[in-house]
Amino acid sequence: MEDAVYMMPNPVTPNQCVVINPDLCQGCNACIEACRTDVLVPNLEKGQPPVVLYPDECWFCGCCLGNCPVPGAIRMDFPMNQRVGWKRKATGEYFRIGMKNPPPPNTRPPIG
């Protein structure tokens, strides 16, 4: 069996708030610089993606993502207990954060 099984503490709650895509991350650590609560710490291997060490302390401010030079390298999603929904006025369809097959992203930028 390839994957060894370990004795481990439980996953922290939440544990998927901030997820780094190792294929896109350049390991520049700019996200670490912007994180106010040290959710992210440097990888001991230089150039490797930061370690998401304290996801339970994430305030979901998005500053890591805002400081990241590579679009898509960091994904943030609300903790499952804080996901919200909306209704399309014309059709009554209901959508929510976290759903399977969501509508396509709305790419209109904010003002400023």
Binding site: Q16, W86, I97, T107, R108, P110, I111
Partner: protein, 651 residues
């Protein structure tokens, strides 16, 4: 990601040197690098002072304003404003009452904001932050001043709140600080103020702290110190699991600033104030992330599950027929900040009777285009903690404000009074934003020589432009004082005692972790300083805290500098809990504006208690005192705002 962590369990990524001393000297030391601290630093260094800023997180993005801001309050001196700072003080007093002006602080902080917030906004504009509609996206909108291109929010008659596009204000401030040569010390939790001779009540000569990456010890020696930390949070409610991302204030806003003020002998007031607002429920959603019509979402149309519109009324209860009418004063109303147009106040009963069906939805598609774009594109696009968390997260999941109606939280009908519905559900915090802090004067000086205050530290005046305004004002006073102040002298015994205290938790092999400690402490506040308060209940609470100091607190255990930082917060929380309980004990009456209900003193606001009670420690004993309400316009102060400002503002 936990597997990634544990599989490759490795040593702490930063070099650790517990106890290693770093000594820094400055003319002006600023504790807290949020909005107030940054504006203070820039103002002080421009006046020639040597400035150090110490920040627990990272000046680049930390603080309640770290993510930006969308509305600039009390800009009464902007060219399009129809209200003077003096008139504004009357509006605030009639809105909030006598004890303080909510997020605007007290009379001193609010007046300084009314005089200077527009100037502070021009400061950030010079740093490259967009504060007006330079792209002409809102030409012809009823909230635009065509001459200055300023965009206004809320009260379109009086035009004193400016809609700004300042999601990137923190990086701009940090860049300016670096350009001017401010020394920035990030990732340091300040744990105690240094006083002359190490004695409480003496002149403040700096502060001490610990780096939460390296564990190193920092001694800041300063002629003048400005404390610009925010309102302590997590006193009655703490749960990274239940709330976490939805916590109202950023997680670094913890009790150590208030505890260090107490330890240094600062005089505090309104520490017994609690429950003035439903601060933040345990089942909160992220700020601005559910359907509502509050603040940044003002004045969005709400509809019920069948699409039936919830009526809006003005202050006098008159039903408003159009969206346009929601942005204007009621007949006879001078201006409005909070008591303007609102959803009909009988909404809870009408929901309970079945007239409106839950869930409710924020009907952005039903709003006129300029208002929809102002709410979603401009305000949600730039407000603190909304650009990436709300704007982009929602849109990445396909949210389209032109088509979609955001659902409001489903909660008991009585919670559908006008307000921030994302945070009202579940176990409550009892301490609102109008809570306590240090007593301060027209110099923004505390009772301790050499110690000034700015931002939310001032009567919990927690708003962005107020923090910017009072930051620059406090810096002018502190810089002036520092220019002639005698050389600060550090008391070595005070340093050694603090080092022994702060590192105790890393010298243990096991013990209680910081999260369990914080959870245990909030339980004490919920039980003994919550809904039911009396002499016996509060004394029991103090007994619990005292006992915990000897056992659980004494076993506090940190395995790395990060955990150490959180442990130091928990230790400060014990002190602050005690201060709040002692202040509550000393206030032998109930008080509606303070949110104080005592079972043993049920009389609400008896005349002899129409005052601020003050509290401090002197030689290990509690000293209470009092200040008249409106003290800022009573002797030895001048009788008018204008006169006090002229005498003290250094302008």
């Amino acid at each position: 990601m936990s597997e990634q962590v544990y599989e490759k369990l490795k040593k702490w990524p930063y070099p650790v040197n517990y106890g290693k001393e770093n000594e820094i000297t400055a003319d002006v030391l600023i504790i807290g690098g949020g909005i107030a601290g940054c504006h203070a630093a820039i103002s002080a260094i421009k006046r020639g002072a040597k400035v150090a800023v110490v920040e627990k997180g990272t000046v680049l993005r930390s603080g309640a304003g770290g993510d930006g801001v969308d509305h600039w309050h009390l800009a009464c001196t902007n060219p399009a404003s129809k209200i003077t700072p003096e008139e504004m003080m009357g509006v605030l007093k009639s809105t909030f009452g006598e004890y303080g002006y909510g997020e605007f602080g007290n009379g001193i902080a609010a007046y300084i904001s009314s005089r200077e917030s527009y100037d502070a906004m021009l400061d950030i504009e010079k740093m490259g932050v967009k504060v007006r509609d330079v792209d002409d996206l809102f030409v012809g909108a009823p909230f635009r001043d065509e001459k200055t291109k300023l965009l206004f929010a809320y009260d379109y008659d009086n035009r004193f709140t400016i809609r700004v596009q300042a999601a990137n204000v923190k990086p701009a401030l940090q860049k300016e600080m670096k350009r001017l040569g401010v020394a920035i010390y990030d990732r340091i939790i300040v744990t105690r103020l240094l006083t002359e001779g190490g004695k409480p009540g003496n002149r403040v000569v700096g502060a001490m702290g610990v780096n939460v990456h390296t564990g190193e010890f920092y001694i800041f020696k300063a002629r003048a110190t400005i404390i610009s930390t925010s309102i302590p949070n997590g006193l009655w409610m703490f749960s990274t699991e239940l709330k976490g991302a939805a916590a109202l204030q950023e997680p670094n806003l913890t009790p150590e600033s208030m505890a260090m003020l107490w330890d240094a002998g600062a005089e505090l007031t309104m520490m017994e104030a609690s429950g003035t607002r439903m601060q933040s429920g345990g089942f909160s959603y992220l700020m601005y992330s559910t359907g509502n019509s509050h603040n940044t979402w003002f004045a969005c149309t709400l509809v019920d599950a069948d699409g039936k519109e919830i009526p809006w009324v003005d202050r006098n209860g008159k039903v408003l027929k159009t969206v346009e009418e929601r942005y204007h004063c009621a007949p006879g109303q001078r201006a409005f900040v909070y008591d303007g147009p609102r959803l009909t106040p009988d909404l809870p009963e009408r929901i309970a009777k079945g007239e409106f069906k839950l869930p409710l939805y924020a009907d952005l598609p039903g709003m006129p285009e300029h208002e929809r774009r102002a709410i979603w594109g401009l305000m949600v696009g730039n407000e603190g903690k909304t650009r990436i968390p709300i704007y982009w997260t929602f849109q990445n999941w396909g949210f389209d404000p032109d088509k979609d109606m955001l659902q409001a939280t489903v909660q008991p009908p009585d919670l559908y009074t006008w307000g921030a519905w994302w945070k009202t559900y579940g176990p409550r915090q009892y301490r609102g934003m109008a809570g306590g802090g240090p007593v301060f004067d027209w110099d923004l000086k505390t009772n301790l020589e050499g110690l000034y205050a700015a931002g939310s530290t001032l009567a919990c005046g927690a708003n962005h432009s107020g923090s910017a305004s009072t930051g620059r004002y406090a810096a002018r006073k502190a810089t002036k004082y520092a220019a002639t102040a005698r050389e600060p002298v550090i008391d070595r015994k005070q340093v050694d005692a603090e080092k022994a205290r702060v590192y105790a938790s890393v010298n243990r092999k096991d013990g209680m972790g910081w999260k369990e400690l914080k959870m245990g402490l909030v339980r004490i506040m919920q039980d003994y300083c919550g809904e039911c308060k009396s002499e016996e209940i509060l004394q029991t609470g103090l007994r619990w805290l005292n006992s915990m100091r000897e056992s659980e607190i004494a076993s506090a255990w940190a395995r790395n500098p990060h955990e150490l930082g959180r442990i130091l917060e928990a230790l400060a929380q014990v002190t602050l809990n005690e201060v709040i309980m002692k202040a509550t004990l000393a206030h032998t009456a109930s008080s509606r504006p303070l949110g104080l209900k005592r079972l043993d003193y049920p009389q609400m606001d008896p005349p002899e208690w129409r005052k601020y009670m003050t509290i401090r420690q002197e030689n290990g004993k509690i000293k209470t005192g009092e200040l008249p309400l409106n003290y800022w316009l009573l002797p030895p102060n001048a009788p008018t705002y204008e006169e006090n400002y002229r005498k003290h503002s250094e302008i």
